[in-house]
């Protein structure tokens, strides 16, 4: 019997055919929630404005001015919704991927600034997990720093959930590499 083969999902550009994605991680949900709270503050301005008009300037609720107020509110609301979309897109597109060959950091710095950095496991020198703060400790999120063998900057996973597990996973993957590859990037024996 013929079973159709499903096309293998490509997680990121440049993924090799034999490359297995082991972990896809993005910032902890609390980070997004914090940004969402900031957004909600802007949303609250709309209601605050209504309240202020009713209390301090009820004349703005009458015929000649009401149209302008409504128009301003509509425009503000549109940009508010756009802001929410941008917040979510930026959160959603910032991901870190760990495969059985390398670590890929996909960073969306702005809507039109997309960066993909990758680090082969053999270049890893040191991995550090850092959990700090009350929320980080209770909700178990923090940073993972990956020091590379070279002059390149260290890789950082910012505010990711379960940083210690990620650190252990990366170190385990490093230890699974053939011994002659560890710490000797680009030297094929």
């Amino acid at each position: 019997m013929y079973w159709p083969k499903f096309k293998r999902t490509i997680m990121f550009p440049g993924q090799q055919a034999d490359e297995e994605v082991l972990l896809v991680v993005r910032e902890h949900w609390l980070v997004f929630l914090t940004k969402l709270l900031a957004w909600l503050m802007f949303a609250a301005f709309l209601m605050l404005g209504d309240w202020a008009i009713n209390v301090y300037a009820p004349v703005l609720n009458t015929a000649p001015y009401l149209g302008y107020v409504n128009l301003l509110k509509s425009i503000y609301l549109m940009f508010l919704v756009l802001g929410l979309l941008i917040l979510w897109v930026m959160y959603y597109l910032n991901i870190q991927i760990v495969t059985n060959q390398r670590i890929v950091d996909i960073t969306q710095r702005s809507l039109i600034h997309h960066t993909i950095s990758e680090l082969h496991l053999s270049r890893i020198e040191d991995v550090t997990a850092e959990v700090s703060g009350i929320f980080g400790t209770f909700l178990d999120y923090g940073n993972v720093y990956i020091q590379t063998a070279g002059e390149t900057e260290r890789f950082t996973f910012n505010k990711v959930p379960n940083p210690q597990r990620i650190e252990k996973m990366i170190l385990d993957l490093y230890e699974q590499l053939p011994e002659d590859l560890r710490g000797h990037p680009h030297e094929k024996k």
Partner: protein, 75 residues
């Protein structure tokens, strides 16, 4: 006596409409860039399409309301 010349809009309304549509152009450009980034770089195409459609429906409704409010202004 000056003849009664037909004027479709007043100058004030034209300026207001111009400012409104410039703002809307900025809104559309930003929206399109955000949706393009989502559809181009997002890992799940289905999620990206759902979010994009939802956003388009909401923003189209808000745009209709805003145009209604603009036309409701009498000079």
């Amino acid at each position: 006596m000056t003849p009664d010349i037909y004027q479709p809009t007043t100058l004030g309304h034209t300026i207001l409409a111009l400012a409104f549509y410039v703002l809307m152009a900025g809104f559309v450009i930003y929206s399109l860039v955000a949706l393009y980034s989502l559809l181009r770089f997002g890992r799940s195409m289905i999620l990206a399409i759902i979010v994009a459609l939802l956003y388009l429906i909401i923003s189209a409704s808000l745009y209709a309301a805003a145009v209604g409010n603009l036309n409701g202004i009498k000079f």
